[in-house]
């Protein structure tokens, strides 16, 4: 079998994303639903295939079942290849392997996967961001400069820069310093966590890093600084465009809302850069006689009889007559019963919101977002205070309190 590939992508999809709270109780962050039909990882996978990269190792660890099943054969992304394609890479038991200990260790444990394709370049990605990016341009940039490592950076406002890893570069883009969350940032080039390594350097540094007992086996903390210290040729690749880390409930909500409006901040209906996703043949959605829908996104299998405003609805959502959904994200197969009112909330999958429930409060400056975890059944008339994060246990205690 001839299996050579010029560039192999390794997608770190193992993280829990604990700041998404109850959304990631049962799924890893890259598997969190987004924009009505997508999951967060779809954007990175689609970027890969649209950039001509057809070999993607997806490194899973935390709750991989949903992701594993979702990626499946890779067919929705045209990544079901006899050589390469999308491959889920869980941790495994072998002579030396174990749970992944850090981003660098995760890649290290899968060096034999990479080696099989004998690539010149390895692209390291994470499955946590919403963006459209042509990695092939970054690869060209890397090749033109004969770099050992190229790191994609995006300009952030200087006042936020101290929340990021900041790359300080010369005028030609060469990096001379990397600072993780610097209190006094010298530049605004924030690392996007997207790296291209020339393969031999990656193998060398990962092997060394693995042997270093002091290392926490992390790209940002260990590998990148070490390479800089050793004077390797490292460039920052400037990216401009929409890029959003959806690591908190607020940012996830914002990114969903960025899809709305006449000129959405983030445009999904882009024929030159399609975002692929796994979907099934659900019936078309139905908008009833009494329904009112404004500035919203609705998709297959929905049945809308109530009022939906400034909201994003996933497939199979039912909104009964008289129910109101405003400034909210409703995930798949959730049912909002008659007269219920939902404001500034995220309702996870398969929830039943009982009749006349009140969830959250109208969006305002001091109002916090409300979250209802998956597969809950909320009794009629229950009120859930704004800012609550509800899962089954919370619901039980809420019930006791109300009784």
């Amino acid at each position: 079998m001839y299996t050579k590939k010029e560039c192999v992508a390794m997608l770190l999809a193992g993280g829990r994303g604990s700041r998404l709270y109850k959304l990631t109780d049962k799924i890893a962050k890259p598997a969190v639903p987004f924009g009505g039909k997508y999951r967060i990882i779809d954007f990175t996978l689609s970027n890969c295939i649209n950039s001509g990269i057809d070999t993607v190792g997806v490194l899973t660890q935390y709750q991989p079942m949903v992701l594993n099943e979702y990626i499946g054969t890779g067919e929705p992304w045209d990544l079901d290849r006899s050589v390469g394609g999308a491959r889920v890479l869980p941790p495994y038991q072998g002579t030396t392997s174990d749970w992944y200990k850090g981003t660098a260790n995760a890649i290290y444990q899968n060096l034999n996967f990479i080696a099989r394709y004998d690539p010149e370049y390895v692209l390291i990605l994470s499955g946590d961001h919403i963006y459209k990016m042509d990695y092939s341009k970054m690869l060209d940039y890397h090749k033109e400069r004969n770099a050992d490592c190229t790191i994609a950076v995006i300009d952030v406002p200087i006042e936020q820069a101290s929340r990021f890893g900041i790359m300080n570069t010369y005028d030609d883009g060469r990096i001379y310093e990397f600072e993780e969350k610097p209190p006094n940032p010298k530049s605004t080039h924030a690392s996007m966590g997207i790296y291209i390594f020339s393969k031999d350097k990656l193998f060398k540094y990962l092997t060394e890093d693995e042997e270093d007992p002091e290392s926490s086996k992390d790209f940002g903390k260990n590998v990148i600084p070490k390479m800089l210290n050793n004077g390797e040729t490292m460039f920052a690749y400037p990216f401009s465009g929409y890029w959003k880390d959806v690591g908190t409930l607020e940012s996830l909500w914002e990114a969903n809302m960025d899809l709305l409006g006449d000129n959405p901040e983030f445009y999904l209906n882009d024929r030159r850069w399609r975002i692929y996703f796994r979907n099934y043949a659900l019936p078309p959605h139905y908008i009833g006689c009494e329904a009112e829908v404004k500035n919203s996104i609705i998709t297959e299998g929905c049945n809308i009889h109530g009022c939906v405003i400034n909201s994003v609805l996933s497939n199979g959502v039912v909104v009964e007559p008289g129910a109101v959904v405003k400034d909210s994200i409703i995930m798949a197969n959730t049912c909002i019963k008659k007269g219920a009112e939902i404001n500034y909330s995220i309702i996870d999958t398969e929830v039943v919101v009982g009749e006349n429930c009140r969830i959250g409060a109208p969006r305002a400056d001091n109002v916090k977002i409300t979250l209802v975890g998956s597969e809950l059944e909320i009794d009629p008339g229950v009120t859930i205070e704004p800012g609550s994060m509800i899962n089954a246990a919370d619901l039980a205690s809420l019930k006791n309190k109300n009784n």
């Binding site: 209906n269 975002i275 043949a281 078309p284 139905y286 908008i287 939906v308």
Partner: protein, 377 residues
């Protein structure tokens, strides 16, 4: 017993000349995201039939595109799966006639393919109806009844006018068919009409086709069924679920409109838990509703952008409705671009039409206004 499926993709294309100019009956778009063949295919797949031949003798490009490898019906198999059988044009002058018209002619032409089927039973159906059949029940009934041939019927009330479109059966109390009337002139009342779904053993079918070849028979009902009513045990299986026949463009329009408003019928087709209607999945983003839209009683596919008013209508994938447009009682196929201040009533627009700002188009329910593929108005 294992069962193979045969679907006639082109039968009765002539009933819908508007929509079959460049496509087969099987690939006529229906209800936002489906094609007629999806019903036949899904019914088969839901009854675990995993080897399906589609007989298509013309206009099959759109069908080939829709079916692809069969993945969407989980039928991209190494053995079995879906096979489209276009006429195998030969280079040799002595093999003529790639055209055939009737069911029996199609079977005769494909006898070589039918002989290769390895399953015990064959279920045949066509693509001019909307129904979510329980073929599993049909097959077990066929087996347990010991019938040689089982034909699905529906008991309907016929006027003289309507009976001319149907094949009508008389039967005894056991369900054995005792007489057959092919498109009769003078039959009225509650009768069993054929739904053109036929179960037969492969062995018997092959024998009957060879017989038809040697006798130059051309009609399955007239020449095969009626000649064998006594010698074979031919039974009917009465279907009492939802079933819509598409005999003409008016039927197409009426059935579509009914499935918008009638939730019960819609659920009888799309809402059966273990019998989903499968179709080609696409990569459309979800539909975006604008600030000033007003949508009611409509079925809407993904990938639309709606800024105007939509009422009692069906929008296929990627339709754009401009501001202050008003769409009523209309069916807009994939990619329709409707300008601002447009007013449509009883319109059926084929793929990728464009209606410019301020156009007013209005048809009638009995004769909807049809706009052909790619037209700009």
């Amino acid at each position: 017993m294992s069962t193979a499926g045969i679907i006639f993709a082109n039968l009765h294309d002539s009933n819908l000349p508007e929509l079959t100019r460049q496509r087969s009956m099987g690939s006529v778009p229906f209800l936002c995201r489906y094609r007629f063949i999806d019903f036949a295919l899904s019914n088969m797949v839901n009854a675990d039939i995993s080897s399906i031949g589609i007989l298509a003798h013309y206009n099959y490009y759109s069908l080939m595109d829709h079916i692809g490898s069969g993945k969407n019906w989980d039928l991209a198999r190494r053995s079995g799966g879906i096979q489209i059988l276009p006429p195998n044009v030969s280079a040799y002058a002595e093999t003529p006639a790639t055209y055939y018209n009737t069911r029996l002619e199609a079977l005769k032409y494909n006898i070589f393919n039918i002989e290769r089927i390895q399953d015990d039973l064959i279920l045949m159906c066509q693509c001019d109806c909307v129904a979510n059949f329980d073929f599993g029940e049909l097959l077990s009934e066929h087996e347990s009844s010991g019938a040689d041939i089982t034909i699905v019927t529906k008991k309907v009330h016929l006027t003289t006018q309507e009976s001319r479109n149907h094949v009508i059966f008389d039967s005894n109390s056991d369900g054995k068919i005792t007489d057959i009337h092919v498109k009769p002139n003078d039959i009225t009342g509650y009768k069993d009409v054929s739904l053109n779904v036929i179960v037969i053993s492969k062995k018997l079918l092959v024998t009957l086709i060879h017989d038809a070849i040697s006798h130059n028979f051309t009609s399955f009902y007239r020449d095969i069924i009626s000649r064998n009513l006594t010698s074979k045990n031919i039974k009917l299986f009465r279907w009492d679920g939802y079933y819509a026949d598409i005999l003409n463009f008016e039927d197409y329009f009426r059935t579509s409109m009914d499935l918008i408003s009638n939730e019960e019928n819609r659920n009888a087709v799309f809402g059966i838990r273990n019998r989903p209607v499968l179709t080609k999945v696409r990569n459309s983003p979800p539909t975006v509703y604008g600030d000033n839209c007003k949508v009611s009683n409509s079925l809407i596919a993904d990938g639309c952008i709606i800024e105007g008013k939509v009422e009692n209508s069906i929008l296929f994938r990627g339709v754009k409705i401009g501001r202050n447009a008003c769409i009523k009682n209309s069916i807009l196929f994939q990619g329709a671009q409707i300008g601002e201040h447009v007013s449509l009533n009883c319109v059926v627009s084929d793929k990728n039409t464009t209606i410019r700002d301020r156009s007013v188009l209005s048809g009638n329910e009995s004769l909807p206004y049809y706009i052909s593929k790619g037209r700009m108005i």
